[in-house]
Amino acid sequence: MIEGHVPHEFSYAAAGMLVFNLNLQWKRDPSKLPLLIRQVRTFFQKYQHLLGGDVQKLFG
């Protein structure tokens, strides 16, 4: 997702904006990938109640 290989339109605006911005950060500095993954993981853990439909579509 962060590398932009998994196109997805999120139902929750913050999720779409976060992933999009993490992708831009990764393009600027690929070595930051572990840090960016931690950010998206923390976000998904906090907002899992709002992201159920997205998680289902993304990961089955």
Binding site: M17, L18, V19, N21, L24, F43
Partner: protein, 326 residues
């Protein structure tokens, strides 16, 4: 609510935390207290869109809020806004337009720590459009009585555990069917663009494409449409400026024409959002959408020089709603 300044004074004296948008002279007359504000004379009110130098728009913090804290931020400290925002609650941030802080936030907020983990919304303070360049937009920190044109002010509102805050974005614009446009560098201005892998002088491209500059450029942030409003276009000098930055690597398309803005807007508001505890809309929607005297539903508030939904947006309505956890 759209109110007289006397009504706002009553609320402040009665210790109700409030966020106030209005004319500078009115905000200067308010007593110290648990409030913050920013200058802007454009509003969406129950009577429709209007310009007012006699009334303000006041947003009360819900009485059940656990804690309310007003803080100021400068260019060095603004990166803490996400960290400072409460774990459960929301933050409303007001920044003065055209300041260095406005610029820094616009360019760098997406990489601020914890920004997207928290609920950070707000707006950019402005002036009457006739006064741009002559009067500096201001923000006000009620607890200290400060009036600031280079710092921002935020209200951090902590909620009881059973409530959660959520930001909503209403964007009446969609990407059009025209070219995909990129820019070679991040910034508020550009002299070149990239279309179909080729670089063009922006003046030549815009002259050839004949784009209506009242319509924004729209990027798709994984499902969230983010607008960038065109501020000026100088075709002979090949220079375009924007009210929010364009970012290198982002693909923009010029927006589709909207038609009747008020009708389109009403159709775009979700019906199940509940009552908003905060709302702002863009002054360009007011002017380009010809909203003076026209209604856009129950979502009311100041019409501003930029909207904050985590990061800076343009030509967008931003609202915060609360819901009870199940």
């Amino acid at each position: 609510m759209f109110a007289s300044i006397e009504k706002v004074k009553e609320l402040i004296v009665g210790k109700t935390p409030v966020i106030v948008a209005g004319d500078e002279a009115l905000l200067r007359s308010l007593p110290a207290g648990n409030w913050m504000g920013g200058t802007i004379p454009y509003f969406m009110t129950p009577q429709g869109g209007q310009v007012s130098h006699t009334h303000v728009f006041v947003t009360e913090v819900p009485a059940f809020a656990r804690g309310v804290h007003v803080a100021t931020y400068d260019e060095q400290t603004i990166s803490r806004i996400g960290v400072d925002s409460p774990e459960n609650g929301y933050t409303i941030l007001i920044l003065p337009a055209f300041s260095g802080l406005h610029r820094r936030y616009a360019l760098e907020a997406p990489s601020f720590e914890h920004l997207f983990l928290k609920v950070v919304a707000g707006w950019i303070a402005g002036t009457h459009l006739d006064d741009v360049g002559t009067i500096a937009p201001k923000v006000f920190a009620g607890p200290t009585g400060e009036m600031l044109d280079a710092k921002g002010v935020a209200m951090h509102i902590q909620l009881p555990r059973e409530y959660q805050a959520k930001i909503g974005i209403v964007n009446t614009f969609e990407q059009g069917d025209g070219d995909e446009i990129q820019f070679p560098a991040t910034g508020f201005e550009a002299s070149e663009c990239i279309v179909g892998g080729k670089r063009y002088k922006i003046g030549n491209y815009m002259a050839q494409a004949q784009l209506d500059i009242r319509l924004p450029l729209v990027a798709n942030y994984n499902g969230t449409k983010c607008n960038v409003t065109i501020r000026t276009l100088d075709i002979p000098a090949s220079k375009i400026t924007f009210f929010a930055p364009v970012f290198e690597g982002v693909k923009y398309r010029h927006a589709k024409p909207v038609g009747d803005y008020a009708e389109r807007f009403l159709a775009a508001i979700p019906h199940d959002i509940g009552e908003a505890v905060f709302c702002c809309n863009c002054v360009h929607n007011y002017t380009y959408g010809d909203l003076e005297g026209r209604h856009t539903g129950t979502l009311q508030g100041p019409m501003t020089f930029g909207e904050i939904a985590y990061q800076l947006l343009n030509q967008t309505l931003v609202h915060v709603t609360l819901s009870k956890r199940r």
